[in-house]
Amino acid sequence: MAEAAGVAAESLAGCRARAARTVLDQVVLPGEELLLPDQEDGEGSGGAGERPLRLNATARSRGRVVCGPGLRRCGDRLLVTKCGRLRHKEPGSGSGGGVYWVDSQQKRYVPVKGDHVIGIVTAKSGDIFKVDVGGSEPASLSYLAFEGATKRNRPNVQLTRGAVLLLQVSTWAFQVGDLIYGQFVVANKDMEPEMVCIDSCGRANGMGVIGQDGLLFKVTLGLIRKLLAPDCEILQEVGKLYPLEIVFGMNGRIWVKAKTIQQTLILANILEACEHMTADQRKQIFSRLAES
């Protein structure tokens, strides 16, 4: 029994909180507690979690640390709630202690304010459209939340941008079943999510109804974040392959349109397979496609 107790104590000791700094970019599991940098000196000296009393109450030099997805504040520590890699971003302008978050692989989307998503219009009731965004409830979209739309004036606006994105915003031509690209203005756990197709200045900025044809397919959220990262080469390579239009929604949905159906399907397959391919395999496939 004594040895069993010894083993148990050793295993429990391994569960004590670790400094967040030491586990950056490592896999963390739900239930682990992390210490923020300004709490670490106490752990070293006490060994049992004692912290020296600070006479100076404003000794926190770090400032505010932002707790991102996958982490919860638990007392003065961070509790990990999802499995994934712990990441940290240094504060840009020196205020605050930066952001900590967990990079996890997920398929199900949870609405977050400010995210740009692709939704499918499922119902129209009075002045509100119900849009399915892949979350637990449909988001609501007001008919006035488009550029230049007023109760009387219903313009047919066309927007052209660069070579990649071409969206036609027509406020009244859309019906149930259409695709909408918009952003959330209200998205929290207690309220129904609301989205708009207009930014804070009142301009559409690429949002609105997504045109006819094309293909909508679903990928994991991690792949979308990878493709939307500023230094992603996949997108540049895909752009060199065929002329295309592509829209990424943070809810895991991608809409793609190329000249022919076959090209569209090829692009969709490449993007879905990108998640599991290494860079070399990808380059091989692109070179093979470019030849044919």
């Binding site: 069993a4 429990l12 739900p30 919860r72 999802k82 398929k107 199900r108 637990s136």
Partner: protein, 297 residues
């Protein structure tokens, strides 16, 4: 082949026990055994075409070192070469994540010959009649291998649901539903513990926020008081008491216990202590399995 083929019949059992019997006869080091298992896996994965999608991780029997402490709990009085070698109390584990395309999270957990497949959907829409205003509605559906679900399945569903509710942070997703669907693929003892492990891995795969991980461990007490961890179906039938515990990963606290049979108070404490020690190995296996999964991305 045995670990990857879930549709095996009696032939599969023979393959599995043959490998273990050869391992058990020589005193092999845990690392050697693990290498044998892993190279087999690598070869199989190469045959599958190099796709990284199925994440199969086989738990090695590298628990022999720590199991020395349990030698007095486990009096190995068996003479026939059973499915596990001397000195090792838990059967082989294997876990595969993200194997189903429809659910938000899925996992398959094998313990010896017992295998359970779990799928998690959530946080998703919930019927108005079932919604709870301040937390998520957790539902567990357990389907037996054959036949319609009966009262035993309902009772196990309730136990698994209570365990999951203690661990899942439902308050972050009020008025949503999180559904765990479990399918028994093969039952060779310790079914409830295997279901709990599969449910935990599937919840982690789905990204449902949790305050800790949990695992299930089954103990059996036979007529002369010997404690056996992770009993097979035969051992469970012959035992005088079978106890299943669900333990959490933070402090090995007890989340759920269900017992059947006759046992004394001291025996209960002994079983609980043994289960807590065994859960360390299960959690270590979870950690290795998840680290392997994230190392590929």
């Amino acid at each position: 082949m045995a670990f990857l083929d879930f549709r095996g019949g009696s032939g599969r059992v023979q393959i599995v026990s043959k490998r273990r019997a050869t391992c058990g006869r020589h005193s092999w080091s845990p690392r050697v055994g693990a290498c044998v298992l892993r190279t087999h896996l690598v070869r199989k994965r190469a045959l599958l075409g190099g796709s990284n999608k199925p994440r199969l991780h086989v738990g090695s029997r590298a628990m022999e070192g720590a199991m020395q402490t349990e030698s007095k709990i486990r009096a190995d009085s068996r003479t026939e070469p059973g499915p596990r070698g001397p000195g090792c109390s838990l059967r082989h584990f294997a876990c595969e994540q993200n194997l189903l395309s429809r659910p938000d999270g899925s996992a398959s957990f094998l313990q010896g010959d017992t295998s359970v497949l779990a799928g998690v959907y959530g946080p998703a829409e919930v019927k108005i009649s079932k919604e709870i205003f301040n937390k998520a509605t957790l539902e567990v559906i357990l389907r037996p291998k054959t036949g319609l679900p009966g009262v035993a399945e309902k009772s196990r569903e309730r136990l698994i649901r209570n365990t999951c509710e203690a661990v899942v942070l439902g308050a972050l997703h009020p008025r949503t539903s999180i559904t765990v669907v479990l399918q028994v693929v093969s039952d060779a003892g310790s079914l409830l513990a295997c279901c709990l492990n599969a449910a935990c891995m599937a919840l982690v795969d789905a990204g449902v926020p949790m305050r800790a991980l949990f695992c299930g461990v089954t103990c059996a007490l036979d007529s002369d008081g010997t404690l056996m961890l992770d009993p097979t179906a035969k051992q469970e039938k012959e035992a005088r008491a079978v106890l299943t515990f669900a333990l959490d990963s933070v402090e090995r606290k007890l989340l759920m216990s269900t017992t059947k049979g006759l046992y004394s108070d001291a025996e209960l404490q002994q079983c609980l202590a043994a289960a807590q020690t065994a859960s360390t190995h299960v959690f270590r296996f979870y950690r290795e399995s998840l680290q392997r999964r994230y190392s590929k991305s």
